[in-house]
């Protein structure tokens, strides 16, 4: 098994040489943009929930006082 394992390792290293682990650029500016996005990003669950509540309020306006009371 061992010689075959060594052979496969050798073939892998020949086909896929080790990567260059050095970074080409500082990623902090991109990180900051990602942090800023979080204020406007809304998941699909939030969107569906918002749509359902809006539709419910439009269809049954009488629930508005109850909703306000719950808040």
């Amino acid at each position: 098994m061992k010689p075959e394992e060594d052979k496969i390792r050798e073939m892998l290293c020949q086909a896929l040489p080790p990567t260059n682990p050095e970074m080409k650029q500082d990623l902090w500016p991109r990180m900051l943009r990602r942090l800023d996005e979080r204020h406007v990003r809304m998941s699909w669950v939030d969107r569906i929930l918002l749509l359902a509540v809006s539709a419910g309020v439009i269809a049954f306006p009488a629930v508005i006082p109850q909703l306000l009371y719950q808040l």
Binding site: E5, C13, N20, M23, W28, R30
Partner: protein, 181 residues
């Protein structure tokens, strides 16, 4: 700065980060981004994908800041999250192209060698993400098994098992592609 002062400084930084201090997060980001990137690129083997995954890693770290224990080493925690993000990134790519579309210059040489290298890359790309991560780190990048185990959150024995299974699957795939090791 002596070792004790460094430990105190790191713990203080960790506490500030956990409390939501953005300046502390920036310091940790700048201190650890190269290491996190290096770890990820060794798994995903693609510079652009590794940059995206580095951002995703720190985004997950930032979201989980309240759970960070300042007595623990930030780097080890970050490496573990980075390994998960890298494996998720591998899972998100179609298996057959992963491992092939990397920045590898086509080496001049006999056509048979190039065909064999293509077959090896194809076989490697067919490995499941977790096995590909372990094989890449252990067989290609020659990282110590203990470090791989810590980053993947598994035992050294489990790393060895994954590497062994990778070799088995590679051998089978190469046979199917009519390449004999």
């Amino acid at each position: 700065m002596d070792a004790t002062a460094q430990v105190h400084e790191a713990a203080d930084l960790g506490r500030r980060f956990a409390a939501g201090d953005l300046d502390a997060f920036e310091m940790l980001f700048r201190r650890h981004q190269a290491e996190v990137f290096g770890w990820i690129v060794r798994i995903v083997r693609d510079q652009a994908l590794a940059e995206d995954a580095t951002i995703e890693t720190f985004w997950r770290i930032y979201r989980a800041r309240a759970r960070f224990d300042a007595r623990r080493e930030f780097g080890a925690w970050a490496r573990r999250i980075a390994a998960n993000v890298a494996i998720d990134a591998l899972k998100a790519r179609p298996r057959e192209v992963a491992g092939i579309e990397q920045d590898v210059a086509v080496a001049p040489g006999p056509i048979a060698d190039r065909a064999m290298n293509d077959a090896v890359r194809r076989a490697f790309g067919l490995l499941p993400a977790k096995l590909r991560a372990a094989a890449s780190l252990a067989l290609i990048e020659e990282q110590p098994h203990a470090e791989i185990a810590a980053a993947l959150g598994i035992s050294v024995a489990a790393v060895k098992s994954r590497v062994h299974r990778s070799i088995e699957l590679l051998r089978k795939s190469l046979r199917r592609l009519q390449v004999t090791p």
